[in-house]
Amino acid sequence: MIAEAVRRSPLADYTDRFAALSTATDGALSIRELPFVSQVDLRADPKDSDLMQRLATAIGFALPIVPNTVTSREDRRALWLAPDEWLVVGPDGQQGAIERELRNGLNSAFGSIVDVSANRTVIEIRGGKARDLLAHCVPIDLDARVFSAGRCAQTLLVKAHVIIECRDESGLILYVRASLATYAADWLLDALTE
């Protein structure tokens, strides 16, 4: 309980700045941190179809095999990171459960499961201007026709490695290293003035 009380997200200090932005743009653009998202990194052999089936049964949906796509069910999502690597995410506090499910699925197969929840924080960018804003900072094509719902990408936000996920037409999710979160937030807020 004590750990809960002192827990502090990487962008806790940006809450007011993000909120002011929402107000200033009349809701056309909103940025907020989604703190403490559970994140578990999974590596497993995608060619082992029995294993893929076991993992799908364990988490309740199939892992994405198509590069840079996302599959999900209810509040759990799986992001493709590499041919044999995924990021399985869920709400705060679910990392233990996700880890257990994946471990059941992996069983004795070769692979790895690591709780990386503290590795990154999550920033939600929402609104009609979300893509324009992010396009100022990343070198990938964020056009809605290309980067549509269910797609994700690992790329650079200026110099910081990030994962970007498209939830829906006007909602983009940014996963950024905790230690680079303020760097990313400063860039986003600065890009707004351009």
Partner: protein, 80 residues
């Protein structure tokens, strides 16, 4: 310059790192080779004006290594 990652498709070159010449074979019997052969393996690389087969890694993306052919004059890339 766009570089075609076999997994992620075309991405800007800043997402990649260069891994030098491809197809540099490790000496079959490393303990037995003489110094000159070893030095040739470690330090000597082709430096063509024209097509070169190279290793690249998609550092900021899927982190996979792959091989491509790049023209050192025009930077035209073709898949290996």
């Amino acid at each position: 310059m766009l570089i075609p990652c076999p997994w992620c498709g075309d991405r800007e070159d800043i997402e990649f790192k260069y891994g030098g010449s491809a197809d540099v074979a490790y000496p079959r019997d490393a303990d037995a080779v003489d110094d000159a052969t070893w030095a040739r393996f470690v330090f000597f690389r082709p430096n063509p004006k024209g097509q070169m087969t190279e290793r690249w890694v998609h550092t900021a993306g899927c982190r996979r290594w792959f091989t491509l052919v790049r023209d050192t004059v025009t930077h035209q890339i073709t898949t290996a």
